[in-house]
């Protein structure tokens, strides 16, 4: 049986994979830095969601979601559009608070604290849990000011410290070489892929431990997409990453763990290799083989 993923492989790749043990589905090789066979039980939990229900007004869009994200790993959230992936992601740094009339029950533990508590300081939380959006959203300021924004609003005024920080974050986001000579120029003049990496650098500048990415590459061309994927592979050594993606190949390339959402339910979660080769749920298999969605 030729699977969805296999149809996207080049003949050479297909030949190479034909020698691997027979599986239900074949997964593409992971990007450098993502070891899909990593034993995640060794990693303490960075995020633990328990019994989460989410409502837009009367409309419930998440049903009893339980999910644990291990530290320093990449978790991919997949599922057809409208299934609640973004909503779930936004609960992790309380960005849903900004939408009027929303309600959330259940708990989300980050560093042992339930961040859904009303007493939680969302400003601190969002510094700790950075976010990158689908549409890159550089501020209409210089490249430098974009990256320095987070530290500045946190009170950092020292020009030298800021300059160091901007450089190291741009390095981490693999953008430094391209922009080091024009830090004072407008961020809006960068290409789409560069803008998205700038947004990642900007998020890193607040020194977060968790990075949430909502379809960070879906508006980018293939070359920029693969740069972002490589970047995720590099970042996951130091950061916990949760990424929403529509692209099944991307999910399998960049993640250790995959969670499949369907109509607001977390249908299945497990190691990426397992989800893509031997999913336990029929729904998951149907989705990743492209039978719907």
């Amino acid at each position: 049986m030729v699977t969805f993923i296999e149809t996207l492989r080049s003949p050479i790749e297909r030949k190479a994979m034909a020698t691997s043990p027979t599986t239900v589905l074949r997964v593409p090789p992971a990007v450098a830095g993502v070891d899909r066979d990593m034993d995640m039980s060794q990693h303490p939990a960075a995020i633990t969601a328990r019994g989460m229900n989410f409502y837009y007004g009367e409309n419930q869009v998440l049903f009893d979601v339980n999910l644990t994200v291990p530290e320093r790993s990449v978790t991919a959230l997949i599922g057809p559009s409208g299934c609640g992936k973004s909503t779930f992601l936004r609960t992790l740094n309380r960005m849903n608070d900004l939408i009027e009339g929303t309600r959330c029950t259940g708990e989300v533990l980050i560093q042992g604290q339930n961040i859904m508590e009303p007493a939680v300081d969302v400003v601190l939380l969002r510094k700790h849990v950075g976010m990158v959006f689908q549409k890159s959203t550089p501020f209409p300021k210089s490249i430098f000011d974009n990256v320095a924004y987070g530290p500045r609003v946190a009170g950092e005024r020292n020009r030298a410290i800021l300059a160091d920080l901007v450089e190291s974050c741009l390095q981490k986001a693999a953008l430094w070489e391209e922009v080091k000579d024009r830090l004072g120029e407008s961020a809006m003049a960068l290409s789409g892929g560069q803008q998205q990496r700038l947004c990642i650098a900007r998020a890193l500048a607040t020194n977060p431990q968790i990075l949430l990415m909502d379809e960070p590459a879906s508006a980018l061309d293939p070359a920029s997409t693969s740069r972002i994927e490589d970047l995720i592979g590099e970042l996951c050594a130091n950061y916990t990453i949760v990424i929403v993606t529509h692209n099944m190949q991307q999910a399998s390339r960049v993640s250790h763990q995959t969670a499949f959402f369907f109509e607001g339910n977390l249908v299945e979660v497990g190691p990426t290799t397992q989800i893509f080769t031997s999913p336990s749920q029929k729904k998951t298999e149907d989705y990743i083989t492209g039978r719907f969605g």
Partner: protein, 352 residues
């Protein structure tokens, strides 16, 4: 059921649809008619533009021709007089200066503040919706109505402190400035009234500028751990500033030329003095203690003086009125130039 035979050769009906078209002369009469109508419409629009322009040019020309021989330096360095050869606009110039400065000082923070509250903070309740709808109504209220309001509320203060003529009571602020109660026909009362006139305009312009800022900027800023106020202060307001400042300057320009509310609150038509005796910019520096007294003084304004000269019987004062109009227009163009400059300055900081 029989399916039609598949064929790759074009059917005769397809071939027939290709007919020869003469692109050069448009043999089709409907095409010629459409082209003709299109040209007629373009000409109508052109005539509309040029007739408006012609009216403006005619107006300007007649005023400038009229003011020739009267408009000179002494016109802006002397106060009003019964002699058309000696009458000047100095008192009105300073009156307008104080009036506009105070109005700007009060209306800009209030207006931008209200707009920020309505757009960025206020929840969508029936009350905020009522306020938003009525702001545009308020912007359309004739200014003379605000003049009546100002007369009752600011000039007379509902006669709470006795009749305004008495002017017996006053509050002393820090021993420097005495604010009369009720205010009476002083600059402060005029500025408060003018603030009411232009506040809705400033609020609406600022709201529009704030709404034009993409919400993704707010979300991105908040996601970086900025507070709501930091987001407004560092992202939203700078991005909206070109729009806001344009709205503010347009509103202020309107206040410079507005006469009705000033006449209503009892501003002087003939004044031969400048508020607090400040009759040259040098005095602002040499006698700064007078600056705080000026708002408590009686005043006249440029448009009032122009109106006064224009309605004098005979032709003697018409060059004086024309000169006043030219000075007023010059001040207005300075303001508009200022608006362009501010727009340029504030949008230069933005790197779209």
């Amino acid at each position: 059921m029989s399916t039609p035979p598949l064929s790759v050769t074009p059917q005769p009906s397809d071939v027939q649809s290709l007919k020869s078209v003469n692109f050069i002369s448009g043999s089709d009469s409907t095409i010629r008619r459409r082209l003709f109508l299109s040209r007629v419409f373009a000409w109508c629009c052109r005539i509309a533009t040029y007739s408006a322009l012609a009216a403006l040019v005619a107006l300007l020309a007649s005023i400038i021709v009229n003011c020739l021989g009267r408009l000179n330096l002494s016109f802006i360095t002397s106060v009003n007089s019964v002699d058309p050869a000696e009458a000047g606009i100095l008192a009105g110039l300073w009156g307008s200066f104080w009036l506009i400065s105070l109005t700007t000082l009060m209306s800009v923070p209030l207006g931008i503040g209200s707009a920020v509250y309505l757009e960025e903070y206020a929840k969508d309740t029936w009350l905020t919706r009522v306020i938003k709808v009525n702001l545009s109504n308020l912007a359309g209220v004739p200014s003379i109505v605000y003049g009546m309001l100002g007369l009752t509320v600011f000039v007379r203060m509902f006669d709470l402190f006795g009749s305004s003529a008495a002017k017996s009571k006053a509050i002393n602020l820090l021993g420097i400035v005495k604010i009369p109660l009720p205010l009476g026909d002083i600059i402060l009362a005029g500025a408060l009234t003018m603030t009411l006139v232009i506040l809705p305009i400033i609020i609406i312009a600022s709201q529009e500028a704030l709404r034009a800022v993409p919400s993704s900027i707010r979300t991105a800023s908040l996601a970086l751990g900025a507070t709501r106020w930091q987001t407004i202060r560092h992202q939203v307001l700078p991005a909206a500033m070109p729009g806001i400042s344009t709205g503010v300057i347009l509103a202020v320009s309107r206040a410079i030329g507005d006469t009705a509310p000033l006449i209503m609150i009892g501003a002087l038509t003939v004044a031969r003095f400048c508020p607090a005796g400040i009759d040259s910019p040098v005095k602002l520096l040499t006698e700064p203690q007078r600056i705080l007294q000026a708002p408590m003084d009686q005043f006249t304004a440029m448009p009032i003086e122009i109106f006064h000269w224009a309605k004098q019987p005979g032709d003697d004062f018409s060059p004086v009125a024309a000169s006043g109009i030219v000075v007023l227009l010059l001040v207005l163009s300075v303001f508009n130039g200022f608006a362009v400059w501010i727009r340029y300055r504030t949008s230069r900081g933005l790197k779209w």
